[in-house]
């Protein structure tokens, strides 16, 4: 069997996911995304800020920042009238404010690209991107990539879909 480069990248991403997937108390596999910040709040970030998951995977967002609260908020007209940056058929999501050690779980089933942000920290480019499934999946929707309607520094902060699919997850360098 000969795989195209694109297929190879997708397969590699899937293999990485299988290795790095913790398990929820319910026994369901999940991906953990931490919300972090420096002690004085100079920098805030999601870690990892780019992840690839299979449809139906549960993502758990955990606030590890002892001095700040954060949200996980989808770009969607139903939430603060933002331009849509998730698949058209997907439900918008918003965690509300998470205090330190609070968490939020999210299960995404529609294949495509999901962009989200932290409500009080979007100006600081605290954003993330989730890739669900792969481009060959039925119903794949990556309209987020060309949706625009964010500041330049925010647009630049999203990792590329290609990089996410290649590595499975993109970590944020720990800042102090």
């Amino acid at each position: 069997m000969i795989m195209t480069r694109r297929e190879l990248l997708i397969a590699a991403g899937g293999a990485l996911l299988a290795v790095n997937m913790p398990v929820l108390a319910s026994g369901q596999p999940h991906v953990l995304i931490e919300m972090q910040g420096t002690a004085r709040g100079e920098r805030v970030w999601f870690d990892p800020f780019g992840v690839a998951v299979k449809p139906g995977t549960t993502l758990k967002f955990l606030n590890r920042d002892s001095g700040n609260s954060h949200t996980v908020t989808a770009y969607h007209p139903a939430l603060f009238e933002r331009a849509r940056r998730i698949p058209k058929e997907a439900e918008p999501f918003n965690s509300g404010y998470l205090l330190p050690d609070d968490s939020f779980e999210l299960t995404l089933t529609i294949p495509g690209v999901y962009d989200y942000y932290c409500l009080p920290h979007e100006r600081a480019a605290m954003v993330g991107r989730i890739v669900v499934g792969k481009p060959s999946d039925k119903g794949w929707d990556d309209s987020a990539i060309k949706a625009g309607n964010v500041e330049d520094n925010v647009e630049a902060a999203f990792p590329s879909v290609k990089d996410i699919l290649t590595s499975g997850k993109i970590r944020t360098p720990r800042l102090t």
Binding site: R40, G41, E42, N68, L99, H121, A124, M126
Partner: protein, 137 residues
């Protein structure tokens, strides 16, 4: 003589009025119009580095914010000034101060948080030598 005494009494009364009654702020909670920040915003009750914060909502975003340690002692007065507004010519003048004794001052950048979500500077006036350590965690 009587005139001189009256004048001195007036001066004393005036200076006390300007100085405000520090004793009313020294222990948490301060009287109104101050409110506890964590009661009105989604933030932890004790913020590492700043303490338990109180603010008069009318003075937002700059403050002063009053920072109390875990024993409820006023340890710092904090101001939060959005960088964009400073750049656009906004000034914050004649800001109040929790206590008049200030032993050291820290100034640093903050990316934002509920209540002051624009990138801003924290200006922290510590009121005694051990204040920074007590507010750290």
């Amino acid at each position: 003589m009587f005139k001189a005494i009256s004048f001195a009494a007036c001066l004393l009364a005036t200076s006390v009025a300007f100085a405000h009654d520090e004793s009313k702020l020294e222990q948490m909670p301060p009287e109104g119009p101050y409110v506890q920040v964590s009661d009105v915003l989604p933030l932890p009750a004790f913020l590492p580095g700043l303490g338990t914060l109180f603010v008069n909502p009318d003075t937002l975003p700059a403050g002063p914010f009053l920072g109390y340690d875990h024993d409820g002692k006023l340890s710092a007065t904090i101001y939060m000034t959005p960088l964009e507004e400073l750049k656009n010519g906004v000034t914050y003048d004649d800001l109040g101060v929790g206590l008049h004794k200030v032993t050291s001052v820290d100034v640093y950048y903050n990316a934002g948080h509920p209540g002051v979500d624009k990138p801003h500077a924290h200006i922290v006036l510590y009121h005694d030598a051990g204040a920074e350590e007590r507010l750290a965690k």
